[in-house]
Symmetry: C2
Subunit: 223 residues, 2 copies
DNA sequence: CGACTCCTTGAGCAGCTTCAATCGATGTGG
DNA sequence: CCACATCGATTGAAGCTGCTCAAGGAGTCG
């Protein structure tokens, strides 16, 4: 999950293709808090999130942390670069994953459709990452938070009459490390949105988006 | 070109593979200042920079700009997402490019090696982009500038005794938009490095790196 | 030489971070 | 069932980093 605002809804988060589904190993369960892999591990498998949410992080020597992405259902996780993982991956909630062999990237495991699908997924990831770069490089704190909420709402929000409800499985610190901010700044931005009536908070995890159009405006700096 | 610090030197920036080279169209020339494509254009071809340097940018409605990447020799440019370009691409100097059909992504244009090579290039781009995200999200201005110079030095610096020389084909404003800073901040960071004897400036475009080890320390926040 | 563009430097300001205290939800033991 | 401990979230106050605005310098091209 990166910060991409687009009009179209998310494609079916099911298996890559019917054929691809036939080739993959049975889904595995990753319990909340458990790591799927660590930075530096050799890449042996590639995963697609089936249900749940995972977090991809990278660290600097001195402990500064960046959340690279959140993996939501349908997202492909664990693309290798020179053979090893460059992020840690941890489950934010109990998560099930479809598993593919790494070799599927080289020759598609005899399944050209799978190969093409993986390439497509990689291209989508590049594009979404570009949005994330734009956000980190050029958007203000409040714009970043609005962007984050707008994307989650658009992709994963449940309709509730004219409103939408989203649940945030990650703590504020993960959101902060994703957006390049501190937890305090994220919290203040949430409060500001609440005070303006754009969102309502129901505990820290559940958010009612009252004015999603306004949220998208704010995400683009249209204030 | 993203901000990746790694020990190994850059692989041969020649054509993807011998076979792939045979399949591609003859190299084209893109004069300095000319656009290869614009944001929103339909993707018809994919390019590999042969000589020269290009700049990939993305804009926000209100004019804020982010340089997503610089394309140096060997880099693949123009990966599509839902069929169209999401960045502008402009040549910073006269540039030659190898050209591939977009369909090479779908079925390799009958060349499986090419298909694999493109996928590999996409995976590398994802990894480098992750470094860029880490930098924008968590590094200070001086660390970003040091990272930028360290990478350029490592990959493209010419040896000059114990020093290395690099030439920066892009103006300060492009560096600033790449690093998520302003030109003034970039300029100040350059001056600080000069005052500390880490680099020497020979005009604005040519830089002598006196202490590249120190530069890499600074890039990682080891000050 | 003069005009232009880009780069550098300075001064003041704003936004975000840091540090610190409080609040609120959750869970545990008495 | 309540008191209390714990952890995350929120809010406040002060400080710092990087931005804005402005002026001057350096290289380039007519």
């Amino acid at each position: 999950m990166y910060i991409t605002l687009s009009a179209e809804t998310r494609p079916d988060p099911g298996p890559l293709t019917h054929d691809a589904a036939n080739r993959m190993r049975p889904a595995t369960l990753l319990k909340q808090g458990r790591h799927l892999f660590h930075e530096g591990d050799e890449v042996e498998r590639i995963y697609q999130v089936k249900t749940g949410v995972v977090r991809l992080t990278r660290m600097l020597e001195d402990g500064r942390r960046q959340v690279i992405a959140f993996g939501y259902p349908g997202d492909i996780i664990g693309f290798p670069a020179d053979g090893c993982h460059h992020t840690d991956c941890e489950a934010l909630v109990d998560t099930t994953l479809n598993v593919f062999r790494r070799t599927a990237l080289d020759h598609g495991d005899g399944d050209p459709e799978l190969h093409v699908a993986l390439l497509k997924a990689a291209l989508k990831e590049i594009s979404e990452m570009q949005d994330h770069v734009m956000m980190l490089g050029r958007k203000s704190a409040s714009e970043r938070v609005a962007s984050f909420l707008a994307v989650i709402t658009q992709r994963y929000g449940e309709k509730m009459g004219s409103h939408r409800r989203i649940s945030l499985p990650m703590p504020r610190s993960d959101i902060a490390d994703f957006l390049g901010l501190t937890t305090e700044t994220v919290s203040r931005a949430f409060s500001a949105l609440r005070n303006e009536g754009v969102i309502a908070l129901n505990g820290a995890q559940t958010i009612i988006v009252m004015e999603s159009a306004r949220l998208q405006q704010l995400a683009l700096g249209d204030d």
